[in-house]
């Protein structure tokens, strides 16, 4: 099957979200469009360079390729979203902030290390907040509850037997 290049679609939507450190280490990448691994790597590298070159006093928005990029730095992590041209940058900032709040609530005063060592959780949380680049739930409570329930389900599955096994007691 021949690879299809992603087609641009109308209507505001997020193309991708990246989290990366000041040293340029990628901590999370969520793509809402189909692109090749190679193309993604290139875009990530390029965009990271552009964002990391920004001075602290500059505004949170920049234009890159044919997209708008909204980014915000929280401690040592950059949260970076690429959105379509018609999108409202200010609400995207709120979106980023909401995601950080969710992480914060979940991990308890989240820091970069939490995201590094629990990257799957960061994805799970993001996937309860956004879908296809659109917000699926505007209630913090609701999103966190969903994660909690999923975590419980997960724990149930890691059956007691294997836990004991690991402890060397069975």
């Amino acid at each position: 099957m021949k690879g299809r290049s992603e087609e641009p679609w109308p209507g505001g939507s997020m193309r991708f979200m990246l989290l990366f450190s000041r040293q340029g280490k990628l901590r999370l990448q969520k793509w809402y469009l189909a692109t090749s691994d190679k193309e993604r790597k290139k875009m990530v590298r390029e965009l990271m360079q552009v964002v990391l070159a920004r001075k602290p006093k500059m505004c949170s928005f920049l234009e890159w390729r044919d997209l708008k990029v909204v980014y915000k730095r929280y401690a040592s992590l950059y949260f970076c979203c690429a959105i379509e041209g018609q999108d409202n940058e200010l609400i995207t900032l709120e979106l980023i902030h909401r995601y950080v709040e969710l992480l914060d609530k979940y991990f308890g005063s989240v820091c970069e290390l939490d995201i590094i060592f629990n990257f799957e959780k960061a994805y799970f949380i993001l996937d309860e907040f956004l879908m296809g680049g659109d917000v699926q739930d505007t209630s913090k409570k609701s999103v966190l509850k969903a994660i909690e329930q999923a975590d419980l389900l997960q724990e149930e599955d890691e059956s007691p037997r294997s836990v004991l096994e690991e402890m060397g007691l069975a």
Partner: protein, 785 residues
């Protein structure tokens, strides 16, 4: 094997502990070998851990394709932990390029149908992230069913999955449209939000859907009104603003429904005014809602008062301490400066303040906007501000600022003297950044202002004496001194300070220019010619001049050498003709930009083999004939292009693009055709990475009572360009503001030649067939520079 293979957290530790890239690679390669082995014959209960590790190293940039099949296995497992990691893996490793991706369709189908919410959620999420068109077609029915699920958790995800499906397979719109009416009654914010998103998507893809959903405008207005006045719940509020995400989404949908539709727009007016005045903007959330409101107001057919309110809100945004808000304000005002000019004018002082922004992307926008706001009544004050800005602005904005000031001066100069002064000041401050035609323009201007010759030559002489490095200034000064050297020495001119200049000083200055390593070859040409002219303007013997001229007869620069040799010959053999040949130049007719370049060239290359003066004819043939690539009468291809761009034309966007990181300024739209309610507009985009590419979107709108059918637009460009017409969105433009027909023209301009565009429209309207052929005038220069 379990012992030598690391747990995820330990692996991460070890990778972070690696001191070099090589060390990291080693650790990872070792671990990947374990992972592979484990995939082959390891404990299936631990498979999810192995995949998690693999996903981690994948994020670091290492290959992980051998994990794709494992994703499938994990998804198919009954255990939640397996599915969780498996689906995550699928979203990260699988996409529609691999055949493998189709294999998860069945698992997804199963998971969608079994009753555990969390599992259904995983499946829907994965589908909406990486679902290909085939998968979407296969699973549309399942998703449709889930839209009616009892649990809002599932419904909210199903709705957004439907959005994705429509994006991938537009035909599925028919499947998902019917249920929207019901979903609009949702109380659950998430589902409601998803529904609005779904309706938005449907409307943007199909004019029929757009028409259909206009009926729900009153309902949307009601929902938003309730949100704003009573507020659904504090659970969804941010900084006291009720569910800003939902508000913004509703406002966006209203924008789409109200666009070009009088009735819908009218029914929204009150609500928009309400939101605009009642939203608390002390924090970003409120500003975000207000901003969306403004965007909607200016895009629909809103009442005039409302539009002014919108512009004023943007003006207020400009005063906000948050620079992000100032940024969006500047960008929006720039879009509105043509259509709502007087409303934006009111905020001119604030805009000018923004020139001082330390953030270059803001000051750039402020510059563009400021230039767009210059008119005949504020030109003096504005020019002063802009010149102040020019002195201290960042280098990459200097060219644009200088060009902008010069253009504004040209359009609105109150007096010639002011004009000359302004150009002089700009050349002095930013001479190296001005465009090539500045020199020609200034000499033209001075030449035509006889009463100011004395004034000009003195000012220029003083400026030159101070600084011979700014080339355009030096060139103009040299030319002026050559032409009007006699006035320089005359001694009296009330308008400048008394200047006592000796002949020797003048000659010495020109010689300095000639000899300076800072002088460009063209500049030296000017200086040499000026010296020569002075041989007839000054009273002294011409020994010094003759000496210089003879020295340059052996100059290495061929151009200079030729001139010097000719001038030498003039002295020696044709001295009786010298005075006539070096007479003051008559004013040359000013054509368009191309003609100016001709004039400049002819001045510089005024070799004395032809009797002077030689008036140049307006040169139009250089501007590539459009070569009647279409059948039809040729337009005025013999006339020179118009001198004065139309008022709504090029004042804003002179911004030649300096260096890469800053984005190009938006090019203004152009209305190119109107007849009986059918209008054709062009919008221009120059994608940043490709300087030779221009994308034009032609949009045909119909405000009349009759449909326009069989609409075809053809285009022709000069030979050096490549044109590609993409398929139009349709061939019917329905009456009364129905969905416009759009068409994209891709134009490659490898020679960066000035763009010319000829259009041919054929269509049926009011029972008649119409054909129109015309050339597009007033194309913005940013389209090709």
């Amino acid at each position: 094997m379990v012992m030598s293979s690391l747990k995820l957290q330990d692996l991460i530790e070890e990778i972070r502990g690696a001191k070099t890239q090589a060390q990291e690679r080693e650790v990872i390669q070792k671990e990947c070998a374990h992972i592979r082995a484990s995939f082959r014959d390891g404990d299936p209960l631990h498979r999810h851990r192995q995949l998690a590790k693999l996903l981690y190293v994948h994020m670091l940039g290492y290959p992980a394709h051998f994990g794709q099949m494992e994703c499938l296995k994990l998804i198919a497992s009954p255990r939640f932990i397996d599915k969780r990691v498996g689906y995550l893996g699928a979203m990260l490793l699988l996409d529609e390029r691999q055949d493998a991706h189709l294999l998860i369709t069945n698992s997804i189908k199963n998971d969608l149908n079994q009753g555990i919410q969390a599992v259904q959620g995983l499946a829907l999420c994965t589908l909406s992230t990486m679902g290909s068109a085939e998968m979407c077609r296969d699973l549309a029915t399942e998703v449709e069913k889930l839209l009616l699920e009892r649990s809002p958790y599932v419904r909210k995800k199903a709705v957004l999955t439907a959005v994705h499906m429509i994006r991938k397979v537009p035909e599925l719109s028919d499947t998902f449209l019917p249920v929207c009416a019901k979903l609009l009654h949702e109380r659950h914010h998430g589902v409601l939000l998803g529904t609005i998103t779904l309706i938005t998507e449907l409307c943007e893809r199909s004019p029929a859907a757009l028409k259909h959903f206009r009926k729900v405008v009153p309902q949307l207005v009601q929902i938003l009104r309730t949100l704003v006045t009573t507020g659904f719940s504090t659970e969804h509020s941010i900084s006291g603003v009720s569910d800003p995400f939902l508000q913004v989404q509703i406002l966006r949908l209203l924008r789409i429904l109200g666009r070009n539709h009088e009735e819908s727009s009218e029914s929204m007016n009150d609500l928009l005014a309400q939101v605009a005045t009642n939203t608390d903007t002390s924090r970003n959330a409120g500003s975000a809602v207000l901003f969306e409101t403004v965007l909607t107001i200016v895009d629909i057919r809103s009442a005039a008062g409302l539009r002014v309110l919108a512009v004023n809100i943007l003006g207020r945004f400009l005063l906000n301490s948050d620079k992000n808000i100032r940024y969006v304000a500047l960008t929006s005002l720039l879009r509105l400066v043509q259509s709502d000019h007087s409303a934006v004018q009111r905020h001119r002082p604030t805009v000018v303040e923004c020139l001082r922004e330390p953030d270059a992307s803001l000051s750039r926008r402020a510059l563009e906007l400021s230039l767009a706001l210059v008119n005949s009544s504020n030109v003096r004050a504005m020019t002063q501000e802009l010149q102040g800005f020019l002195e201290s602005c960042p280098l990459d904005l200097r060219a644009d600022c200088a060009s902008g000031i010069l253009l504004a001066a040209e359009r609105f100069a109150p007096t010639k003297r002011w004009h000359i002064d302004t150009i002089l000041r700009v050349l002095t401050m930013a001479g190296s950044h001005v465009r090539d035609d500045a020199v020609a323009n200034l000499t033209q201007l001075i030449g035509g202002a006889q009463e100011l010759h004395a004034y000009s030559v003195r000012r220029l002489y003083s400026a030159l004496a101070q600084d011979i490095s700014q080339q355009p200034l030096v060139q103009v000064a040299a030319w002026c001194i050559g032409e009007y050297g006699d006035l320089l020495l005359e001694g009296s001119c009330e308008e400048t300070e008394p200047l006592q200049v000796e002949e020797e000083e003048v000659l010495a200055l020109l010689e300095r220019v000639l000899q300076s390593h800072m002088s460009l070859p063209a500049t030296r040409g000017y200086a040499l010619t000026a010296l020569m002219k002075l041989s007839t303007r000054l009273r002294g013997d011409n020994n010094r001049i003759r000496q210089v001229v003879s020295i340059y007869g052996s100059c290495l620069d061929v151009e200079l050498q030729q001139r010097a040799v000719e001038y030498n010959t003039l002295f020696r053999k044709y001295d009786h003709m010298r005075a006539a040949i070096l007479e003051k130049m008559p004013l040359v007719d000013r054509g368009g930009p191309q003609a100016d370049e001709e004039v400049k060239e002819s001045k510089e290359a005024t070799h004395l083999l032809e009797p002077a003066p030689v008036p140049t004819e307006p040169q139009a043939s250089k501007l590539l004939d459009l070569l009647d690539l279409l059948d039809g009468p040729s337009e005025d291809s013999q006339q020179p292009p118009p001198v004065d761009p139309s008022p709504e034309g090029t004042l804003i966007h002179l911004l030649d693009l300096p260096c890469a990181p800053l984005a190009p300024a938006p090019i203004p739209n152009l209305k190119v055709f109107e007849r009986e309610g059918l209008q054709l507009n062009l919008s221009f985009v120059r994608p940043p990475g490709t300087p030779t590419l221009l994308l034009i979107t032609a949009t045909a709108t119909n405000a009349s009572e009759g449909d326009v059918t069989h609409f075809i637009c053809q285009a022709a460009v000069p030979k050096s360009f490549q044109l590609q017409l993409q398929a139009p969105s349709g061939d019917t433009v329905p009456a009364q503001g129905g969905l416009p027909v759009t068409q994209v023209l891709r134009i490659l301009n490898p020679n960066k030649a000035p763009l010319r565009l000829k259009l041919r429209l054929t269509y049926n309207h009011y029972g008649r067939s119409v054909q129109e052929i015309f050339e597009v005038n007033n194309l913005p220069v940013e389209a090709w520079q």
